[in-house]
């Protein structure tokens, strides 16, 4: 199995993806530490970290801007580690500020009641904010490497095509058909509109209520004129994601179902012409030694020769030990099967790394470094 070093060599952006609860944040943090120790200037952008992990990263006071994490080990190598937690709302506020034509337009958007719901809703908006931010950091941050700990997703495209979907939503054609006439006519004077538009508006009003419709129309209407810039930006984000120096890593749990999902994720990435640079199978219980059948061994004999007194090993305890071993024997066998499948689909260039289950939680620098060493192994 190849480690991560070759697979992410020369990469400027690393996207760590996978479903929820598999350890993406831990992997991202460990990779960031390791690269900083190699003397790189690294930024890691994380979403919703567990509090203790955040503490170990020095993240507790962080918001939407990168903060520097000081450590003697980076300093010695000339490396730097910067970390930030993505806050979708501030990311959007920033975007609105950047693209608004003037102060009045900016305030109108920020104060619209729908703007807030829109920015905290799921179904693309977090993903979009993450993609947008990674582009910003990569182009304007002066970092050697930017690492993105992505929001959980089962499907690669949900994540990567978020910018495109957002573009669909704010498509110019809404204006021609709905918003412009609405804003022009006001909710009480739809009669002045062409027959088709008026009818559509009337039904819509009945459906969602006039007040809400006008709030929504006003919200979308206030984006007017910003669309051209949005489109350009979305194209640039896609270009960055398809860049040969952008790496995608897929993190998985060691269960057979999860490993099959990871393989499907890879296929989706490759079908859409994104790079795939490796799998990280986290919290594995696989042990090669466990594959050998130990069920007929005479343990008391082995204990004696190791210098332990005979009375220490009752037959009850011996049987419990065997029963317990059977669990790991079974898990290891299953894992090996699935891992062979994964190896086939990984290919020669990409990494396939297995991280054993740690006996303690990973939330300090020492355990993160230990974790990273296994990634690079």
């Amino acid at each position: 199995m190849a480690g991560l070093d070759k697979a992410i060599e020369k990469c400027r952006v690393i996207v760590v993806c996978g479903p929820g609860g598999v350890g993406k944040t831990t992997c991202s943090a460990a990779i960031a530490y390791r690269l900083a120790m190699q003397g790189k200037k690294v930024a890691v952008l994380t979403v919703d970290p567990a509090r203790r992990l955040a503490d170990s990263l020095g993240l507790e006071t962080l918001g939407n801007v990168p903060s520097r994490i000081e450590h003697s080990r980076f300093a010695a190598q000339g490396g730097e580690l910067w970390a930030m937690m993505l806050d979708s709302r501030s990311a959007y506020d920033e975007m609105v500020s950047r693209y608004a034509r003037n102060e009045e337009q900016k305030q109108r958007i920020l104060n619209n009641p729908f703007y807030q719901h829109f920015t905290q809703a799921v179904g693309g908006s977090h993903e979009y904010a993450a993609m947008e931010k990674i582009y910003d950091l990569s182009c304007n941050g002066g970092y050697d490497i930017v690492i993105l700990d992505t929001p959980p997703s089962l499907h690669a495209l949900d994540l990567l095509q978020a910018p495109q979907r957002m573009m669909d939503v704010v498509d110019e054609s809404i204006f021609k058909w709905v918003i412009k006439p609405y804003l022009a006519a006001g909710k009480l004077s739809v009669q002045v509109l062409s027959f088709g538009s008026a009818y559509i508006l009337k039904i819509l009003t009945r459906f969602i209520g006039g007040e809400m419709l006008s709030d929504i129309a006003d919200f979308l209407g206030s984006f007017q004129g910003m669309f051209g810039d949005f489109h350009k930006r979305a194209e640039s984000v896609q270009k960055l994601l398809h860049d040969p120096n952008t790496a995608f890593l897929v993190v998985s749990s060691p269960s057979p179902a999860s490993m099959r999902e990871a393989a499907a994720f890879q296929r989706e990435l490759e079908r859409a012409a994104y790079n795939f640079n490796g799998f990280i199978v986290n919290r594995s219980l696989y042990d090669e030694n466990c594959l050998v059948d130990l069920s007929s061994l005479d343990f008391s004999e082995l204990f004696r020769s190791a210098g332990y007194p005979e009375e220490m090993i009752s037959s009850v305890f011996g049987n419990k030990l065997k029963d317990n071993w059977k669990i790991y024997n079974h898990i290891s066998k299953k894992f090996k099967q699935e891992n062979q499948q994964l190896e086939k689909s990984t290919g020669k260039q990409a990494a396939l790394v297995q991280i054993p289950l740690f006996e303690r939680d990973i939330h300090d620098i020492e355990s993160l470094m230990e974790f990273a060493a296994l990634l690079w192994d």
Binding site: P19, G20, A50, R52, F114, H117, F118, Q120, A121, V122, G123, G124, S125, H126, P152, D168, S173, I174, K176, W177, V178, Y199, I200, I203, L204, R206, F207, I208, G209, E211, M212, D215, I216, L220, D287, N289, C290, V292, L294, L297, F299, L302, A306, G307, Y308, M312, F317, K320, L321, D323, N324, W325, I327, Y328, H330, K334, L357, E359, R360, D361
Partner: protein
Amino acid sequence: MKDIFNRRLLITMGKGGVGRSLISAALVKCALKRGKKVLCVQISSEDRLSVLLGCSKATTEVKEALPGLSIVNIQAAEALKEYAVMQVHLEFIYRLVFENRAVKYFTRAVPALKDLVILGKILFHEKETDSSGKPLYDIIIVDAPATGHGIFLLNIPSVMLSAVQSGPINREVRDMYKVLTDPTLTAVNFVSLPEEMPANETIELYQKLLMEYRIPPGLLFINAVFPAMFSAREEGIIEKFQTDNKQCDWRLRCLMKCAHMSVARHRLNKTYVEMLHEKLPLDSIKLPYVFADEMDSSITGLISDTIDTELNSRGRA
């Protein structure tokens, strides 16, 4: 212990990967055993519940899957259409208006609208009656989306109440809010794992739902608790072996390493079970780690039996 089966609406919430669907399916089985007419709801997710319940696939149409059990997979687009048709009465008008490209974009641009109709659909089923006027379902069990989306969904009524002051949506939403916050009708059941991140997230989720949204809590299910494989004395020997680190046969070392892993896992789990107990004033049920490669209805049966045993023994006490 709280009797959650006398409520009308049970919502299963938790972080991704903690076993929400398994617990939802087990609760469905518990309700069926109590002779309830059950509607089991999935929300635009992969269809996991049908495998866990051992029935045919859930579709966007409600259908009877097992005796006493109906199942449905609510998809936002379908639900929106149904709601719209209900409001404008005629499907051809729906098509004329809502399949207009611009309007499609428009409705997509307001994500709250989609979640609103999902919630609306669930509460519509809550009110459904048969020809004699009796409720069609005694109990509705909802396998909610993972934490982030789940919270957003349950918070929709209060968000909408503040954004929309009048009109048809305001009336609907007022109604939803009443049902969701009524402790005689609704309960949120929490699913967690005895591990750091899921445990912390559950505590935050509980505070949010109860304090901010006023949605009544039900039970806490601590899933996949690793069993104690050894006695305290045996654990001592396993620990000593590990620290002694003597020269010995590799097979013995392997055996003892496996034992050590189980002991460590059990202990770590115990810490988080205790933390959950301490921080959450909820009746809780521990469920065992299941040693199985694939989840199916036999495992659901096992989990629902465990839940019943717990409920019965504590109900008597």
